[in-house]
Symmetry: C2
């Protein structure tokens, strides 16, 4: 059983996921490269994973058999487990609890070599729909206060399997970093009666020099204070706190924007490793003894996606300060991406506008 431990000084939680019987140095052995035939996420190898949680099987095939398009399985080496109680406790000055939560792998395609950047958007759309379905299901468990949906692509971004997949982790606390965003949204709304994310988006749309691509429902831009070269954000144009409430029509348009952002990072950075994170609101279920704003807080929030290419290293300055040094101005990154897209306009559907200040 893993443990959640809280740093007593800065309120930062850490998951200590030490497996029993391993020596402390064992983890450093590099992951062996898995040949495609032995990939546990490939079609035909369904028995190599724990039993599936959910799968999209248009032909009606049996669970844990071939015939799926998207498949969700528990992580074989989960950092958190669903069974058990939180068992919150202290050890002197320290706080800890058992590692309760969920850790699922979303296998995005039966094909080992599919890349999200290759599209088509319809395949990305299925993945996004799966995120929605899993989020609804996981938030039925009131112990799970927050879900983070993310994709690690490439070894620099922490991926250990090359088969296309995302992950979803549900945790029993709202992380301090997420609280920071939630509190900022709430404070701003109390002061201005407007959403801070909506206002940032309006500012970006009026300045235009960091906008990369936009359509009826979504805007992708290189944020003003980007931490990383070619960092991108995708915001829904309409205010919404609820990722699961996104309509199928809007979701299809998000699939197009997300796919194209990833596709156009390749000419910019040469198929970079990246992480993307779907930032959703916490589980809104009211809890006994908590004030009512626990269930209303969400409405100030504005869900969004962050795409973080991993081409620079986090070093001592970043660890010591939480500042980041970014060697590429976001305006230059956006300009570069717009130019590549314009050259490749045959892939642009008529519903999409490549932004530019021309």
């Amino acid at each position: 059983m893993s443990e959640l431990r809280k740093d007593p000084i800065v309120d930062r939680w850490v998951i200590i996921a030490a497996e029993r019987g391993r020596r402390p140095t064992d983890f450093e052995a590099p992951e062996p490269t898995i040949p495609e035939a032995a990939c546990p996420l490939c079609e035909g190898n369904e028995r190599m994973t724990p039993p599936e949680i959910w799968a999209l099987r248009p032909g009606g095939s049996m669970a844990d058999e071939p015939g799926w398009q998207v498949r969700v399985v528990p992580n074989k080496f989960p950092a958190l487990r669903v069974e058990g109680r939180l068992n919150r406790r202290g050890e002197g000055i320290f706080d800890l609890m058992d590692g309760i939560g969920a850790h699922e792998v979303i296998v995005e395609s039966p094909r080992h070599t599919w890349r999200m950047a290759d599209g088509p958007p319809e395949m990305v759309d299925r993945v996004l729909e799966t995120y929605q379905l899993r989020l609804v299901d996981l938030y039925r468990d009131q112990r799970l206060r927050y879900c983070v949906i993310f994709r690690n692509y490439g070894t620099e971004a922490g991926a250990s399997l090359s088969h296309p997949h995302s992950q979803i982790m549900a945790i029993p606390v709202v992380p301090r970093r997420v609280k920071g965003k939630l509190n900022a949204a709430r404070d701003y709304f109390e002061r201005k009666e407007r959403c801070i994310f909506c206002d940032v988006l309006a500012q970006e749309l009026s300045m235009r020099d960091r906008i990369v691509i936009e359509n009826e429902h979504f805007v992708a831009f290189a944020p003003f204070a980007s931490r990383f070269p070619f960092e991108l954000a995708i915001y829904p144009r309409q205010h919404s706190h609820d990722f699961t409430a996104m309509s199928p029509e809007a979701r299809a348009s998000l699939a197009g924007v997300l796919h194209r952002c990833l596709a156009y990072l390749r000419p910019a950075l040469g198929s970079p490793s990246y992480n993307y994170i779907v930032n959703v609101a916490p589980n809104p279920t009211p809890r006994p003894g908590k004030p009512y704003y626990w269930s209303t807080l969400q409405f100030d929030y504005h869900w969004h996606i962050e795409i973080l290419p991993q081409v620079t290293r986090i070093a001592g300055f970043e660890w010591g300060t939480g500042f980041y040094i970014n060697p590429v101005a976001p305006e230059d990154a956006a300009d570069f991406l717009r130019n590549v897209m314009a050259q490749d306009a045959r892939h642009t559907s008529s519903a999409e506008v490549i932004s530019g200040d021309q």
Copy 2:
């Protein structure tokens, strides 16, 4: 001129250090490996760096000539520059200022192949004394609100030159991450009239299972909520907010502890990349119009060193939540290090005690 930009939602500062005339993709070219003869930090190549700021020259040699033991030069590609004014301003909803600050390189040895983990502690002591001298000097500039002293060792930790060196960056704001620690220390002191760092140290010393090494002045331990495998912290045993007030005697004993921590990470992790950070208090100079606690806040703080081996990757979960997943329990890491040290006891001086719960 680089820019400091603040994220409008989470109050995170970013340094946009784009050099003019570079294309946005240029930075991805890997650093060429520099042969020793062409290393700008080596003795004999002093003319390859900007003019030196300070050097330890026991034989009294000339500035920017050979004959030094430790040498401090401005970073040739500084993220921040000392000249100019902050020029704080807004662009609509966004806040930014010019990239004012200092960015210095502390060349720790004239020898290209010296490793801090090799010692002897006397050479580490000279480096620590240099940190003290530079900190005193930089804090004379009231624009510089905070200094971070750090060492990046190995490519995984962001080092781009292999010649032994540390860096010191002085910035015009107190970072949010540092404020988090300062506020925690102040709040705890107001509630308990005790230092939170002293209490954490007392707790660790009473539990003993995470203590790695201690002497009269310092204690090194694997923190309860370690983010990384074999993460270590070094706290002065006596409460002190002021790194520059450390006596030469205490500094010599810190040099011994620091050197040994780095030396014993090698059998544990096979010469890992690591960052260490000397966490010092902000510049205590009172500023006009600021409340008096700007100059008293410091006394609650307790300076300390963090050693962060970089053997795991930061991935989407960490970016999305600020949580970390650590596959090695700090108790196991400490136990491993104590055992290696005990086997190597011939290097233990009589003044030092290898900790253990035996």
